[in-house]
């Protein structure tokens, strides 16, 4: 790995003893915090396979003495969430139906916008860009009533399509920002040469820009997918019951507090809701980090 870089070695000038002590201290810190960060994940994973009586007896933080897939089965098929007893599978599919199109559309438009705003600048394009990125900072609450009105007018309340529209429009600022900042670093001479050779707007986009784009497109897709999948406010306001995406429907688990808590089923349901972004993170973590650091470090 990149560990071998010739960077700062803080204890280069200290003695061997101090060096070892410092190293041990560093690893103690790392391990303690790793335990803190992993505890909740471990707890839900283990409890999703335990039996309820055992959880009731030994509590949530305990080594499993039983193993079954009952919790997963019920969470997927027939657990009662918010009044209906059909498990979370419908909500899971809603989330897929919402997240995939919204991610693809907003990323595609963002790439095109970024290409135009970096390589086909015109009078006022910088102002336009600055203004489009304002959308990144808007709090969701300010857009709630207008969205409710618009979705009601065009008949997309309580529908996955409505949420696709909302997330696509809101995502545009992000995707445009990411792509534009990436394309700005592609040398203009490349574009000029292509234009002299007679290539037009689309040809340059397909033949030069897109082949260079995978790094930024992966970052954008990961970012959009996790963001839209995990979004809660719009899901809970604009849809209800069976139409809800899974993140919105999971809240029913924490708010129907009076009954006996089926921690086994609830753990499985929570994991089902968390799994797609987690998988994306574990497989594309490198790009996820890159997406994070891109904006802040220049």
């Amino acid at each position: 790995m990149a560990d071998a870089r010739a960077g700062y070695d803080p204890f280069a000038t200290s003695g061997a003893g101090a060096r070892t002590r410092a190293k041990i201290g560093v690893y103690i810190v790392l391990v303690l915090f790793a335990a803190y960060f992993l505890l909740p994940l471990l707890v839900v994973i283990l409890n999703s396979f335990r039996q309820l009586p055992e959880i009731a007896q030994n509590g949530l933080i305990a080594w499993p003495r039983s193993f079954n897939l009952d919790g997963w089965y019920r969470a997927w098929n027939n657990y009662c969430v918010g009044g209906t007893c059909a498990g979370v599978q419908g909500n899971f599919y809603n989330s897929l139906k919402m997240t995939i199109p919204a991610t693809i559309i907003s990323t595609a438009i963002g790439a095109l916008n970024g290409y135009i705003l970096s390589k086909w600048r015109f009078w006022g394009s910088e102002v336009l860009f600055a203004f489009m990125t304002l959308g990144v900072f808007m709090p969701g609450q300010i857009a709630l009533l207008p969205w409710a009105f618009i979705l009601g007018t065009i008949g997309l309340t309580n529908s996955t399509y409505g949420l696709i529209l909302v997330h696509t429009v809101q995502g545009l600022s992000f995707t445009t920002l990411f792509c534009r900042n990436f394309y700005v670093n592609i040398p203009d001479d490349l574009i000029k040469a292509a234009r002299i050779d007679g290539a037009g707007f689309w040809r340059i986009f397909w033949k030069i820009i897109l082949p260079l784009s995978p790094p930024i497109l992966i970052v954008t897709v990961i970012w959009q997918f996790t963001g839209i999948w995990n979004e809660f406010l719009y899901g809970v306001v604009f849809t209800s019951g069976r139409e809800q995406p899974i993140t919105a429907s999971l809240v029913a688990l924490s708010t129907n507090g009076t009954n006996v808590r089926d921690y086994d089923v609830m753990s499985a349901a929570v994991l089902i809701g968390a799994l797609p972004p987690l998988l994306i993170y574990f497989f594309g973590g490198k790009y996820f980090v890159r997406g994070l650091t891109q904006g802040a470090i220049k």
């Binding site: 690893y27 960060f37 909740p40 509590g59 305990a62 438009i109 709630l144 429009v169 999971l250 968390a274």
Partner: protein, 310 residues
Amino acid sequence: MASIAQDHIIAPPRPFSERLGSFLPQFLLVPSFIASFFYVFIFTAWTLYISLSNSTLLPAYKYAGFVQYVNLWKNARWNIAFSNLFLFSSLYVLGALLIGLLLAIAIDQRVRFESTWRTIYLYPLAVSFVVTGTVWSWLYSPTSGIEFFMHGLGWSSFQFSWITSRDFAIYLVVITAIWQSSGFAMALLLAGLRSVDQDLVKAAQIDGAGVFRTYWRIILPSIRPIFIAVIVVLLQFAIKTFDLVVTLTQGGPGVSTTMPANYVYDLMFQRGQIAQGAAAAVMILSALACVLVPYALWQTWRARREAAHG
């Protein structure tokens, strides 16, 4: 003069389609422009206008002045929410920054399995606040979580019931939010630590500066812009905090952990007072502006200064 006239004669008039084609880029931006314009300006203006109306359950467009804002600031729950925002933001930003820095420095000590540590600390960011809040609320619950676990270990007098305490529940929201965001701070700060000019650091080392001195005097000051960027992003998260509170405490016990965003939601969709909800939403936007406008100005100033000094 002659050549211009000649050009005029020789160059054939461009066909209409070609002239249209030269506007293609601008033309393609129009839909995005309209969408963003609506989203940023029209929506804000709309909510602002509703906050100045006497709307209750449905929007009414009769101007009513600032009465909603007056009522908002008279409301005890809103005042709790707003003071919670200050308490929460300061502790959360400080906590996430300190833990993030500690982890970044630890990882920067040429440790083994670097990418494994990074993955572990950063994964909470990929998980939704809903999931985080739900799971932590189970762990904080005295009857099944940490307190129960400690009793099981034999420490039967151990008490950990902050979740049911009006005074302490807010700190659990803080701790949970720190759990979610420290990895973010760590990732950015680590990238910053690695961008520091190594010659500078080595020079300090040769001059005999110790570890703490090197970090405190040389390395950390040179990544000050990254600290500020992290603080700004974390403050934004703090101001927008909503789902975490919903799932962790439902704003309770009582109203003790309500945040401004929760107040907006309750007023608009539970109590049918959309005008006052809109007023609260405008206050959230103002709070964000208080953070972002100075930051944007500072960034611009810095860019200008850098350009001036080459």
